[in-house]
């Protein structure tokens, strides 16, 4: 039986100057799924997201989203299909206010002329207020985003994805650099998003991953080492060898 996957990557390969960052990956993602990708440094996790979002072009292989190939599209075209990304380091517009950041993220026409003649509608204002509520930044709506704390910046970036109403959210280390309390809040946020949205989360923090209780894909040296539930992955001897053997170090350096 052929299943309708939301995102399919097949035979994906990308090398940089001879170094194979992604090596013949086949990846299938269901609609509404929450997937976690783990792997040691240099496993190719971020490169994989780069390939999906059009930041890098693969050497070979295809990526299809809802059955349409997206391999040759530009970043903004892929975004407009409903794929949003949060970067590893928070990337928000530091000189814009929190409100403006969300405004720029809002779903809607993105052409030059429509932006010139754009007037904020009340429904847009309401949507922004909603998102501000979800990410808990209502009070900081009118200060420059550069003044936010690290965790707040991460949330703002997630908020921009929410404003976008992206169907597929790619989150690169969403809990990095957060306090325990913030991490927990982030975890809850992700869990509420799953179902309505489809998520791919890259993380190092094992407690956080366990909490998400999602299907886990392990990347190692550009290949998929194994895939399955957290327990299944944890018990896989190959994973223990290449990755969980270094678990403690990963714990000590959650930001690496």
């Amino acid at each position: 039986m052929k299943r309708e996957f939301l995102l399919v990557a097949e035979g994906l390969t990308k090398s940089f100057d001879g170094f194979k960052a992604i090596d013949n990956i086949n990846f299938y993602l269901d609609r509404g799924e929450l997937r976690t990708i783990i792997g040691p440094n240099g496993a190719g996790k971020s490169t994989f997201l780069d390939l999906i979002t059009g930041r890098t072009r693969p050497d070979s292989g295809t990526i299809t989203y809802r059955g349409n190939p997206i391999t040759r599209l530009r970043e903004y075209e892929i975004y407009r299909l409903g794929i949003g990304r949060k970067f590893q380091t928070p990337s928000i517009y530091a000189h814009h206010t929190v409100f403006e950041n969300l405004l720029l993220g809002l779903k809607g026409p993105r052409g030059v002329f429509s932006s010139i003649f754009h007037r904020i509608s009340s429904s847009e204002k309401n949507r922004i207020a909603e998102v501000l509520e979800i990410i808990g930044l209502t009070e900081k709506a009118h200060i420059p985003a550069g003044l936010l704390s690290h965790g707040q910046k991460q949330w703002l970036e997630i908020g921009m994805l929410l404003a976008q109403e992206a169907e597929l959210l790619l989150l690169d280390e969403p809990a990095a650099g957060m306090s325990d309390e913030e991490t927990e809040k982030t975890g809850n946020l992700l869990l509420t998003l799953a179902g309505g949205h489809t998520l791919i989360v890259i993380e190092h923090d094992m407690t956080f991953i366990r909490r998400l209780a999602s299907r886990v894909t392990v990347l190692h040296q550009g290949r998929i080492l194994c895939e399955g539930s957290f327990e299944h992955v944890q018990n896989d001897p190959r994973v223990q060898e290449v990755y969980l053997g270094r678990k403690h170090r990963a714990h000590n350096q959650p930001n690496s």
Partner: protein, 393 residues
């Protein structure tokens, strides 16, 4: 959201417009020459020229201060506008030239016996006026389309714009182009049938320049307040992020670049009849860099700063080239270094600092006041600890 012009600003603009457009011309034409408030024809003409240069400065700031595109060839578009309109003025000389021919003098001198075909439409004032806008606009569009499409950014973009004006400058020095070679166009006689050097004509040109400056300011200022303006500044701060927010940054940059070129062309067309000459030296890379000085000194990212900078630096230039001709380049160079080193936000930054002191900080001071981070330099390998983007290619 304060997305409309602040009331204070509208009020101030109205007063300024009244002074520039009504008071100064009246003081020039209706006041006896020995009256202390009399403004001489010379000064009116000079102010008109400064305002044209200020228009260029504002358009340049729209690119540099708001979009992060440092154009080192803005005076090319200015010159193209000037040349387009200058062609019309050359044809209006008629048979009053030295050679008493229907052709412009330089063509007679070079042995032409017929006007080149592309000159013919420039008999029409409106065609020339329109060409002063669309010729620079078209060039900017083509160049920008190629440059932005291939993601040429930062210093690369700057260097290519400089090379563009350099190449155009070399081209215009050639006689084969039928554009007057290194002498360019001069000795204009009439504009719209009026003698071009009469005080009345010059006053009218002054008013047109002042009006254009105010309208340009209003247009660009309004644009920066729209969502377009927000995207524009977002591109300046973090272009990659903008791409991942679904905006085709290249189109926004192309629009800004083309619009700025059109505006500069307008300034050139107004400037040429007031100064009475246009030649390829206006396209030399150093002229465009000088325009950057006006913006830097005035304070980029404010739109009014460049007006102060253009008028101020050019007034200084007018004074220094007479009083200290040998030291003017040194003065200009030092001014540039000092501003870049010690006052990156220019005069406007200083004024806002004072205003902030008076109004007790109505604006929060950003943690990172530098506008350009390493992210405007594409694909260097050094990781950027302060940039907001992860440095991945």
């Amino acid at each position: 959201m304060s997305d409309r012009l602040p009331k204070v600003e509208i009020f101030f603009l109205l007063i300024l417009s009244a002074v520039l457009i009504f008071v100064i011309p009246i003081l020039n034409s209706a006041v006896p020459t020995d009256h202390p408030f009399y403004i001489s024809n010379y000064l009116v003409n000079l102010l008109g020229q400064y305002f044209c240069l200020a228009i260029v400065a504002v358009s340049l700031d729209f690119l540099w201060g708001y979009t992060g595109l440092l154009s080192l060839g803005q005076m090319l578009f200015f010159s193209l506008g000037g040349y387009a309109f200058g062609m019309h003025l050359m044809l209006m000389i008629g048979r009053l030239g030295q050679y008493k021919s229907d052709l412009p003098d330089f063509m007679v001198f070079l042995g032409y016996n017929k006007l080149p075909d592309f000159w013919v439409p420039f008999y029409s004032f409106w065609f020339a006026a329109a060409a002063a806008l669309w010729v620079p606009g078209l060039l900017a569009f083509l160049f920008g389309w190629l440059a932005f499409r291939s993601r040429i950014r930062g210093v690369y973009f700057s260097i290519l714009t400089q090379a563009l004006t350099y190449a155009a400058c070399l081209l215009f020095f050639r006689n084969e182009l039928s554009m007057g070679g290194n002498n360019g166009f001069t000795d204009f006689k009439f504009i719209l049938g009026k003698p071009i050097n009469s005080p009345d004509t010059q006053r009218a040109l002054y008013v047109a320049s002042a009006l254009s400056l105010i309208l340009t300011y209003l247009l660009l200022r309004t644009l920066t307040l729209t969502k377009f303006g927000k995207v524009q500044r977002a591109i300046r701060d973090s272009e990659n992020r903008v791409l991942f927010s679904g905006y085709a940054a290249a189109n926004y940059k192309l629009f800004a670049f083309t619009l700025a070129a059109v505006i500069s062309g307008l300034a050139g067309a107004l400037y040429v009849p007031q100064v009475g000459i246009i030649n390829p030296s206006q396209m030399e890379p150093s002229r465009s860099l000088e325009a950057v000085v006006w913006v830097a000194v005035g304070g980029r990212g404010t739109l009014y700063g460049p007006v102060i900078g253009a008028v101020g630096v050019n007034a200084l230039r007018s004074w220094a080239t007479i009083s200290l001709p040998a030291y003017w380049p040194i003065l200009l160079g030092s001014l540039f270094i000092l501003v870049v080193l010690f006052a990156p936000r220019g005069i406007a930054g200083f004024l806002e600092f004072l205003a902030g002191k008076v109004l007790t900080a109505s604006r929060p001071i950003l943690p990172n006041t530098q506008i350009f981070t390493n992210s405007s330099l594409p694909k260097t390998s050094s990781p950027n600890p302060s940039g907001q983007e992860s440095q991945k290619t």
